[in-house]
Symmetry: C2
Subunit: 142 residues, 2 copies
Amino acid sequence: MVKNRNFIEKLRELGLRPTKQRVKMCEVLFNREKTFHFTINDLVKMISEEMNEKISLATVYNTVHALEKKGYLKEISINSDKSYFDTNTSVHHHFYDEDTQELIDCDGNDIDPINIKKNITGKKINSVEVLVKVASDNQNQK
Amino acid sequence: MVKNRNFIEKLRELGLRPTKQRVKMCEVLFNREKTFHFTINDLVKMISEEMNEKISLATVYNTVHALEKKGYLKEISINSDKSYFDTNTSVHHHFYDEDTQELIDCDGNDIDPINIKKNITGKKINSVEVLVKVASDNQNQK
DNA sequence: ATCTACATTATAATAATTCTAAACTGTTGA
DNA sequence: TCAACAGTTTAGAATTATTATAATGTAGAT
């Protein structure tokens, strides 16, 4: 209950009207110990279950993109066939398990800072992301 | 002409029957000074123009995937909305210009080797790729 | 030249995402 | 408190990228 109130405030601050769908989405996304990765479909399922009623796909897309634009979610590109999002918006890298299609966060100690020596005139660096693809040891590479 | 012959041999070595569509695709992809990046749609257009006749989308998809599986093309994930391929199959990283949606190769000197300190038991690393997103200096981040 | 297996093609099917237009609901202010 | 407006939600249609299908075509062996 108190948590709902927090999300209502948060959404207001972001200029997003706190509808029940958005508040529920925030609970599902941010009301947890650890950050996590999800696809839009994952999220629709989770919210529908928590609310005991359907939520429109379009609403989930809209709100996810709104939260992404505000910096509360980050999109992660792995394959072109699915979009993954991450509630951990800090700069960090990922392992991707090609066997299980699971994303795993790297923390700061897993990979040394990346040193970019090239710079493109007139452009500034927005992000630097490392993706490490792993697979079972006794299996051919993709 | 001589070049065609080369591609015919190459395709045979790969176990791919050298049809005229595949030979033309190889010319378009590999018969050039520098490696380059393309989407499936780019490629369909390029081949259709070079051949002065249509080529089926399905054929392009099939052959691109065949060449990818054989290691002559590499897929690059940037956004989920498009698949980019690269004729440069060596290990290298990319800049992505968010303004122009252009991909730019990094060569070995642009980024120091990435040191991965984490390892996941029973899994081996298949690839380590860095994507540096850049955008115009006087513009908000995506 | 003929045959056969593999390729190509147009088209249909699927999947992810975005659009649309009508119905609904926070919020503001009288 | 409540009417009114602007922003939201929704179902379903539209769009886009990709894959599947099944009929036709063709490379390569005999």
